[in-house]
């Protein structure tokens, strides 16, 4: 096992392995999405307090989970890259960032779509929405910083520092916004606090979250393959792949 990890942590052997994994994860993502959507629309009952509008949570909540999970995973990969100086982990971090930003954006937009019929406004300055917005800023900052640095080694390391500093800050920001919010007015309804939440609702949310996981893995893997090709373009294994293709 240890030998395997060692072997696959080199881009040359990880590239073809990732290539085989990508379609599998796309397929799984499609299957889980179909099942999840079926449960969301045809199994889960109407919510007693929120009516049909609650069906937005089947994408909102998984997207919000993903936005946070991906940030944590990204910060861990980036940190590993900084400490252990492994090329692949830094590339994984950079491959995850755009997908994380996408889910953060989706969580914000769907939150607004849920807020309008429920709160009566598109936006509320509650702790979750605000932290989600700041998370989007952090993702954009990370991507801009790594894109602005030409030297890849510096880009990896500087990105890692930013990702980790941001990671420490997210909970601080969350709690400070929460505290600030309770002092001002206090958000009334929360998306998931409905007491009448049926088991099927939870099941739908979980299955959609699994679908989002599968999708993220597939996209991140195919993006990390591009990064590998780009960065190692003069190495023997990339040349070999290019020969085969043409």
């Amino acid at each position: 096992m240890a030998l395997n990890i060692f072997k696959y942590s080199s881009p040359a052997s990880f590239y073809p392995l990732a290539g085989k994994m990508v379609p599998v994860f796309y397929g799984l993502a499609a299957v889980f999405t179909i099942v999840g959507l079926y449960i969301s629309f045809f199994v889960a009952p109407t919510d007693a307090t929120q009516g049909e509008a609650y069906r937005i949570i089947f994408i909102h909540v998984p997207a919000a989970w993903m936005s946070m999970f991906i940030y944590i995973v990204m910060a861990i990969w980036a940190g590993l890259g900084l400490v252990l100086n492994t090329r692949l982990s830094s590339m994984m971090a950079q491959a995850l960032a755009p997908t994380g930003a996408m889910f953060t954006f989706v969580a914000l937009i769907t939150g607004a779509f849920w807020g309008k019929p429920t709160w009566g406004t598109w936006w509320e300055w509650d702790a979750r929405m605000t932290s989600e917005l700041i998370l989007l800023f952090l993702y954009i900052g990370y991507m801009s910083l790594t894109a602005a640095i030409d030297d890849v080694r510096r880009a990896d390391k500087a990105g890692a520092i930013l990702a980790m500093v941001g990671g420490i800050n997210v909970p601080i920001i969350y709690f400070s916004v929460k505290w600030w919010n309770t002092l001002h007015q206090g958000a009334s309804v929360s998306l998931t606090s409905s007491p009448s939440m049926a088991k099927t609702m939870l099941l739908g949310m979980l299955i959609m979250a699994i679908a989002a996981w599968m999708y993220s893995i597939a996209v991140a893997l195919s993006r990390v393959r591009l990064l590998m090709l780009e960065r190692e373009k003069s190495s023997a294994w990339v040349q070999e792949i290019l020969e085969q293709k043409s």
């Binding site: 045809f42 937005i56 996408m102 937009i109 780009e230």
Partner: protein, 58 residues
């Protein structure tokens, strides 16, 4: 959950715009991300094969 008719399903108890709007935007986001990725992939392959040809000539 039995919706009865298509129009009921589309209407979502009067919240159709919000429910379908958020699902639609999510779809757009995913399509956008995948499209961007495919474009990056094409551009990179093109660049790399060109580079290889140049290297072979020179």
């Amino acid at each position: 959950m039995n919706w009865g008719s298509w129009s009921n399903f589309i209407d979502m108890g009067g919240r159709g715009f919000y429910v379908w709007g958020s699902y639609f935007i999510t779809l757009i986001c995913i399509v956008f991300e995948l499209g961007l990725l495919a474009r990056q992939k094409r551009a990179l392959w093109q660049r790399l094969t060109q580079l290889m040809k140049l290297n072979k000539q020179g």
